[in-house]
């Protein structure tokens, strides 16, 4: 898994040495994870929440809603429509939890990065390393989630495999954005705002109903939400309706990654290298 992060970081940072240092930051989290033990509960809870939604809303509400029509005209059960959106939301929630709360705690309270910056590791490498870790955690969530989706027969195994990297990208984008926000936070109170925005984004990103059913103003506004782009991308894969138009969603998520990382690295340098 470290090798995956190393490879990704190498591509993004463009330097072998820097990639290895970023991987060392990811590795630190794996060691803490193994030593901590209680950490497993976080994973279980992150996985349980969307699963409960899936069962309650998918089956319960789904029975009332009935079938949904996809963009290509096919009619599918509500659960098939909803499940990929909840997967994207799960990837978002996991990444945000790791990159805001945990990252903030490590930076401000544990003063972890003060000691790391005394080594050759730089702020950008810390940002990459932490994101690498958020992605590994995200992989655990989304992997399990996709298995459940296959078992419930809302997608095929091949489509689930294809949706996996897309879900990771969603996590990566929210991880980078969350980390950027965490560097702007002054205290724990500020995280309440994150929670509110996160919930609004969760409800209004074409998660529960097609965006076409929103008022026109909302349809424009929803374009800003990275989750909307994640939902559209993943839904198109799990339902087999991918087209060239989906490249736009891909590009938007990649841009969010770059933006989040750039802001996070800059802010960290300002906060920690005074």
């Amino acid at each position: 898994m470290i090798m995956v992060t190393t490879a990704v970081a190498r591509v993004l940072a463009g330097d072998e040495l820097r990639a290895r240092r970023a991987a060392a930051v990811t590795e630190r989290n794996l060691v803490a994870f193994r030593t901590g033990g209680t950490y497993w509960w976080l994973v279980v809870s992150g996985f349980a929440e969307p699963l409960l939604y899936l069962l309650a809303i998918g089956w319960g509400v789904g029975a009332l809603v009935g079938d949904m029509e996809l963009p290509d005209g096919r009619v599918v059960p509500y659960l098939t429509f909803l499940a990929p959106a909840l997967l994207a939301a799960a990837a978002m929630n996991g990444a945000i939890a790791e990159s805001t709360m945990n990252f903030f705690a490590k930076m401000k309270f544990a003063k972890l990065y003060d000691s790391v910056l005394n080594t050759p590791v730089t702020p950008v490498e810390i940002a990459f390393g932490e994101l690498g870790w958020a992605m590994l955690r995200g992989a655990m969530y989304t992997g399990a989630f996709l298995v459940v989706m296959v078992v419930l027969d809302v997608t095929s195994p091949v489509r689930a495999l294809a949706a996996f990297p897309a879900a990771l990208l969603v996590g990566f984008a929210f991880g980078a954005l969350g980390m950027a926000f965490a560097t702007l936070m002054r205290s724990w109170q500020d995280f309440d705002y994150v929670g509110i925005v996160q919930f609004a984004v969760f409800l209004f990103s074409g998660t529960f109903v097609p965006v076409a059913s929103y008022p026109v103003a909302m349809q424009v506004l929803v374009q800003v939400s990275p989750l909307y782009h994640g939902v559209e991308l993943i839904r198109s894969i799990t339902t087999g309706t991918v087209g060239w138009g989906h490249l736009w969603h891909l590009a938007y998520l990649l841009a969010a990654v770059v933006l989040g990382l750039a802001v996070a690295a800059r802010r960290m340098a300002r906060l920690l290298l005074g």
Partner: protein, 312 residues
């Protein structure tokens, strides 16, 4: 100490935070194998200087070269060869003592097997081998400090930077830390430390600078500084009253110099016993008399008019 190559060279080094000038144009040269100290009270600019040397804080002005490299452009390459023990222990609280060392080694790109071997050696060195599996919060303050020192050695650094290595430790723990640092020094490691304890500076430093208000007030070996800025002995007089000025007048002329502190009067004299006898000869009866050797504390007092550690 002479002829050694300069590992750290600063010329007119300045650090400003907005309007506030923390370091105000200092010249410093640290040679290979020496133990160099920055002595001064809190707020003298010691930690800011250390952060610039550690390449985690960019100088506002002046020149700085560490290991012959430029901190601004070659930060990672320099930090790869430094060991840093910061003022506040910032150990990784989620990890065990041993994992703190192995994980830290990985930041330097040290292979896992080497990291494990060094971690065990270093735990042995700082006498924490039996606490290898303990989490940081299960360790005492002294143990944490020793672990932080061990961590700073994990990359076998050319220079070890220690920011107030024993502040906040009880006497026993301090002596253990000093003893380990002394061993490092004997092994030829270059040590740079800050302290506001004169006994620490006297014990560990070959050479030191006295800092005050961001500037260097004096420079030399502890012995040189005492010879230049103080007498051989000091008589401390206490009178059990708060108004000491009347006594100062009556003591005029005894010894070379007199210093009036809030709680006591210091008489500087080469022969302390003779000076104390003279005090009694003048019919003064202090409630406490202590004759002692002059220390760096006296040097600092003479140079700045203030004591190093506020007795407040």
């Amino acid at each position: 100490m002479d002829g050694g190559e300069a590992l750290i060279r600063a010329r007119g080094l300045v650090k400003r935070f907005g309007e506030f000038t923390a370091v105000d144009g200092i010249d410093v040269e640290v040679r290979k194998g020496e133990a160099f100290g920055f002595l001064g009270p809190n707020g003298a600019g010691k930690s800011s200087t250390m952060r610039m040397i550690g390449c985690v804080s960019a100088p506002t002005g002046g020149e700085l070269a560490i290991l012959g490299m430029d901190p601004l452009r070659q930060g990672p390459a320099i930090r790869a060869r430094l060991g840093v023990c910061p003022q506040e222990d910032n150990l990784d609280i989620e990890l065990t003592a041993r994992e703190n060392l192995t994980t830290y080694a990985r930041y330097f790109g040290i292979p896992r097997a080497t990291a494990r071997r060094r971690a065990d050696q270093l735990l042995e060195f700082v006498q924490l081998a039996d606490r290898a599996g303990s989490k940081v919060d299960q360790l005492s303050g002294g143990m944490r400090r020793r672990l932080t020192i061990a961590r700073s050695l994990v990359n076998e650094p050319d220079i070890v930077l220690l920011d107030e290595p024993t502040t906040g430790l009880d006497p026993q723990a301090r002596h253990l830390v000093w003893e380990r640092l002394f061993r490092l020094k004997r092994q030829g490691t270059t040590l740079v430390l800050t302290t506001h304890y004169m006994d620490e500076a006297e014990q560990l430093c070959d050479r030191l600078v006295v800092m005050d208000g961001g500037r260097i007030a004096a420079e030399g070996s502890p012995r040189e500084l005492i010879e230049q800025h103080a007498t051989r002995e000091v008589v401390e007089l206490r009178f059990g009253v708060t108004a000491l000025e009347p006594f100062a007048d009556k003591l005029a002329g005894i010894g070379e110099r007199l210093e009036l502190l809030p709680d006591r009067i210091l008489l500087y004299a080469d022969d302390g016993d003779a000076a104390a006898a003279e005090v009694y000869a003048r019919n003064l009866s202090p409630s406490g008399v202590l004759v002692r050797r002059a220390s760096l504390e006296d040097v600092f007092l003479h140079l700045t008019g203030r004591t190093l550690v506020e007795t407040g």
